[in-house]
Symmetry: C2
Subunit: 480 residues, 2 copies
């Protein structure tokens, strides 16, 4: 995609924002530049402003690290400056893994070539000297599962696949198993390490990281993802070695297996501090249960977490801000409190979502929503609401339809950080974003601000604001 302008266009400012600009007192002579908070008041798109500032002033913010702590401090100040209420950190402890040195090469039988690799979260270490081994190729996660142990033991497993883009992101579950479960399966079969084709739909030398999980009692092996062009190269070399082995069968040639050198030196740091940041738009009815809207503040360490998930935090927060200030409803103040959850530690295991549920799971929530699928436009709304909310669904569908949003008929799931709430019975509304290009940059160094399309980001805010205004004014007979 092309580079985006650095400054957020003001074309998307709301009418209310513009009214604020016009009502500002005449400028004193030589005024100081406006603060970020003032800019937000003056009609600058707050979703863009949050996304731009978080990626510029903090950048990568891996859970459990000092960068995530800095992001929390930044978030508390930002949300306070924006005029939200009850802004606070809610800390918790969580196990923390950090990346070390990373290098991989194909070292034979062809001329050595370096590969772009990133360790997966919870990967084991090769030790400082690295390892070298023969590659065992598997066309898919299922092929690895089906393989007898002797084809895996002592080898460096490679899992291939062909993930294609999908609007609803549906390839992630299927192809993602190579990352989620592949290392554990390979370890149990005796592999010395595992390298997977990145779970991504791009063709750039930027590997896609992400968390993997080893079962209790399974010793973590070194586990990394290589960039798609490097996986293509590995496959081409592997096809040649296969051809050499075929020759051996007939002609007595020496087989020359494909070999890799691998260096991954990540570390487990044990329990470290992480935390959620919470802010509220207070409702007019203190007895009404709140609407919860979530995103996650942490990001992977390779990129700046622009689409994953600074944009999500920008979207939900801008929408809540609009509901709070823009006079979109009669009376100006919503009936229900809108609780904004910028969750910590989503990427590494949804520790923030779990901590929120531990602290607040017994409180009644009217409905839960989450924005964690990039910055591209909302194309579909889906619901999981009580039967009493049939008319509410219609009102939401009608409100978002003018912005190109269709009503889907599958059940809403909420999202990772509100997943425990929804599983425990909290109603949910999903504002599904277009994920066609999401897995081009997901969990890569390429998750940077230029990937955010300001026009689509504004569409998200508009759709969210329209939805939130309705949900936050729903009656007690419609939502719990």
């Amino acid at each position: 995609m092309t580079r985006q302008p650095i400054a957020a266009p003001l074309a998307g400012a709301t009418a209310a924002g513009l009214a604020l600009i016009l009502s500002l007192p005449a400028a004193a002579s030589i005024p100081p530049p406006p603060s970020a908070a003032e800019l937000a008041q003056q009609g600058e798109d707050p979703a863009w402003a949050i996304t731009e500032a978080l990626t510029t002033e903090i950048g990568p913010r891996q859970a459990g690290t000092e960068a995530e702590a800095a992001a929390r401090r930044w978030a508390v100040k930002r949300l306070t400056d924006m005029g939200f209420h009850n802004v606070r950190e809610e800390p918790y402890m969580m196990p923390t893994w950090v990346r070390g040195e990373e290098a991989a090469s194909l070292v034979g039988p062809f001329h050595p070539q370096k590969l772009a690799i990133a360790a997966l979260g919870n990967s084991g270490s090769t030790g400082p000297n690295g390892i070298e081994g023969e590659i065992a190729y598997f066309a898919s996660f299922d092929a690895l599962v089906a393989a007898p142990d002797h084809l895996v033991a002592g080898k460096i497993v490679f899992i291939d696949h062909q993930m294609e883009p999908a609007q609803d992101g549906s390839g992630y579950g299927q192809y993602g198993r190579g990352r989620f479960q592949g290392p554990n399966v390979a370890a149990k079969k005796g592999a010395v390490a595992i390298v997977i084709r990145s779970i991504g739909t791009d063709s750039h030398r930027n590997p896609h990281t992400g968390v993997t999980t080893f079962e209790e009692g399974v010793k973590p092996i070194p586990a990394g993802a290589i960039a798609n062009p490097d996986a293509d190269l590995l496959v081409r070399q592997w096809q040649r070695t296969l051809s050499m082995r075929t020759k051996e069968t007939y002609l007595g040639y020496t087989p020359e297996p494909l070999r890799m050198k691998l260096l991954l030196t990540p570390k487990q740091l044990g329990e470290q501090v992480s935390g959620n940041v919470i802010a509220e738009v207070p409702g007019s009815d203190p007895a009404a249960s709140p609407v919860i809207v979530a995103c996650h503040l942490d990001s992977w360490d390779l990129g700046t977490g622009a689409i994953d998930d600074a944009a999500g935090c920008g979207i939900i927060t801008a929408a809540a801000k609009h509901v709070m200030t823009a006079g979109q409803m009669a009376g100006g103040q919503p009936r229900r409190t809108i609780r904004i959850l910028w969750a910590g530690a989503e990427e590494v295991g949804v520790f923030g979502g779990k901590a929120y549920f531990d602290a607040h799971g017994k409180e009644k929530h009217a409905v839960a929503l989450e924005s964690d699928f990039g910055a591209d436009r909302v194309w579909r709304v889906q619901f999981k609401l009580p039967e009493s909310a049939a008319d509410l669904e219609k009102r939401v569908s009608a409100a978002v339809a003018p912005f190109g949003v269709v009503t889907g008929h599958d059940e809403a799931h909420g999202g990772a950080d509100v997943g425990a709430l929804v599983e425990a019975g909290t109603p949910a509304v999903d504002l599904g974003q277009d994920g066609t290009r999401y897995f081009d940059v997901h969990h890569t160094p390429d998750d940077t601000l230029d990937k955010v399309d300001p026009a689509q980001l504004r569409q998200n805010v508009t759709v969210w604001a329209a939805t939130l205004a309705i949900l936050a004014n729903s009656s007690d007979s419609e939502l719990p």
Copy 2:
């Protein structure tokens, strides 16, 4: 762009190639798999086959290194297997620079962020401990030139710009000055180092390297390029620090200049062996001067040199092969010899082109052509031919027009590796390729096989074969 299929489609096989397939003897029982040379005979697209095999079996091949030597050995075997004549290496010595450790971070006044950086060829070293310094921002190379020394001395210079894609690649000369000359200018003004926005039109975390040159007597300073998204980040942070300084003017705030940590430890290895590889299609008239067609075999070290310039070598060689074997001309053998030059060491200073000129510049050449601008389609033909060749120009224009090639009216230049020949008077024909996306991956880790579009590659071969067939059969009254 999307990933391409791994195997070359056979749809583009020439009629002659298909005829060869059909004329092969019936297979013996259980035949061994065909060799690469056999595949090339059997109708596989030789341009794709060369590009695929060079990037798969050798990969990066920086001039003066063992990888370039391996590529020369590979090339001699490949060209011999394809049936060319007089296949040989012509070695020469050249000064060789190699990359070391590379790291850069923005370290204040905001939370530290790592940048994706690559040293420029001939960069100086920061030493193993790196350096830290204040950034001096310049919006362009011209702004740096115009700056008084005191704004540069002791600082880390940053050169910004806004290169946009162009079909004829015309932005490279203008914006490229920041790389070609920026480090020398910065060094003379007393900068401790220089970092430039990549000379590229993409938005990925892959920096664009390339050679820079310091004047005799100017001590090389550390010089690197950062990826475009990182340059965007630097600019956003710089704008904020500017705002802080403005505040200081009015409010007495402490100014906080933008600071960078930089580690680049490249080395000059002195004179090393490089070499050209030459092959020929012998002409029927030994007295006629040859047509020379060139590409370069070396590549930058970050990518695999697929579009720069394995594809160029594939294109010229496939075209020459078609002229040699496919019966595209009456008599089957061209009148003039076609000399194929796979030049060494183009990227680092056109040492192969100079060596060729030193060895062969006194020989008469009928006309020179070069393919070194990627793998996208030929869109324009231009000429620099003697007046006697007016009809020849018309014949070439007419032959390539059906493939969407327009005739331009500027003077042909040849290309880097035949530049000295053309400057000395050898006629030239330029088959100009579409460069719209060339600078997306030029000199980056992303220069990999998946960026080559097989359909456009075949269009190149077709246009080149049509052109070569005419030029190689031109009369002595038309060309020298």
